[in-house]
Subunit: 230 residues, 2 copies
DNA sequence: GTCTATAGTTCGATAGAC
DNA sequence: GTCTATCGAACTATAGAC
């Protein structure tokens, strides 16, 4: 029996509040950008400090060490995004209506994308952090994925099963995992599709890509259903 | 017009030949394992030397520096795998037969998987290296992806278009990108599906996963075809 | 809360013996 | 071809002034 965990780590929020005049937020912004560009090991505290316009020592004063800085950065952004994802998903089921598979898959990705687009510079940074979560088996990444992303994942898995009852519970999990895999193609923005299509397929065009991956993912899920052995 | 590059970097082969009694191969094996476990920046030359049972200086004697060691490791394994992929794909089109989409997608992944399975210990290492290629926008990874993987990618993209002429050339590229994204779910072996399904969905069961992703990917591609605006 | 200065460690790479 | 020993640079983290 697949059990659902509904709490969404809403307790984990940024320590800095609105009106905070410290350099707290600037450090987190810089950390997000540098970690996304260079990876955890490749990111240097000096580089983050320089990008944030603060002394290196200040980062340690606020966050203690590199690992805690990383988790704080993840907690801030994921908390905001996943609350929006949960509300969007729940909103699809009001008045006992059954949403389309397309609606659910769109709700899976849109808040992350829109949060990125709403940011002043390089809104794709946090998406790249998420890509590293989805694809790393390392304890740090899987630990954070478990803590900050598994609860909302279980909600989407349940939604898949609820609107497509012929999808087995196991296949609902696979449907989720594969959807994330396809989504990472959009989030990673490697530019490879541009190369392979000689300039035609632009992975920087988020709106077009979202439409494509929703079609693809829903087609994949329906194929899983049709191939279920009864 | 999407152009095809058919050369497969067959010129890039391991420098060490059969019967080579040097520690050359042992270093590459250790590098593959350590780079896969820790990432490029996280991998330490000391750690690779220790794992290979050689002195650190010997790695520099053979490979010059860390970056060249990394590329040599990629070149050795990708050369072997991609030659097998190309032969398998070409074999599907002999006697002017048209293979199924399922056959082509299987040919996309099977050689990588089987090469891993044939290895004594931790055959999943190189798959993890590939995951980092597929999802990193960093120059090192995209440079190696372009050099060692774009040529074979173009062959598969053309195969998609050839057996499904209603698939636009652009959508054939998306079909390839998304297939790789789904495949990464299998190659990364993060163990997340096991968590999310409470032990039911094992991403370590390669045979079962390959069947699943082939069904899913083909369903996704057919959905792209059906949604083409004419 | 923020800075400068630096301690203590670890890294990639090299020199030179065998 | 392989080893030991070590250099110089760069890293995380801390101490202490303001």
């Amino acid at each position: 029996m697949i059990q659902v965990q509904t709490s969404l780590n809403e307790n984990v929020v940024p320590i800095a509040e609105k009106g905070d005049e410290s350099r707290f937020g600037a450090i987190l912004d810089a950390a997000e950008y540098i970690f996304a560009s260079s990876g955890y090991e490749g990111a240097k505290m000096r580089q983050i400090a320089e990008n944030a316009g603060v002394a290196q020592g200040l980062i340690h004063y606020h966050f203690g060490n590199k690992e805690k800085l990383f988790e704080s950065m993840v907690a801030r952004r994921s908390g905001h995004i996943n609350n929006r994802r949960a509300k969007l998903l729940d909103g699809l089921f009001v008045d006992s209506t059954t949403p389309s598979l397309e609606d659910v898959v769109t709700a899976l990705f849109r808040p992350t994308i829109e949060t990125g687009l709403s940011m002043a510079k390089d809104g794709g940074s946090f998406s790249r952090i998420l890509v590293s979560f989805a694809n790393s088996a390392a304890p740090r990444e899987q630990g954070l994925a478990e803590r900050y992303y598994d609860p909302i994942a279980r909600k989407f898995i349940n939604a898949f099963h609820e609107i497509e009852p012929r999808l087995t519970k196991a296949d609902a999990v696979w449907a989720y995992m594969f959807a994330i895999g396809v989504g990472m193609t959009m989030m990673a923005k490697t530019g490879r599709s541009l190369r392979l299509s000689d300039g035609v397929c632009d992975d920087g065009n988020i709106d077009e890509m979202l439409k494509k991956i929703v079609i693809y993912i829903c087609g994949g899920i329906r194929a899983l259903i049709e191939n279920t052995e009864n």
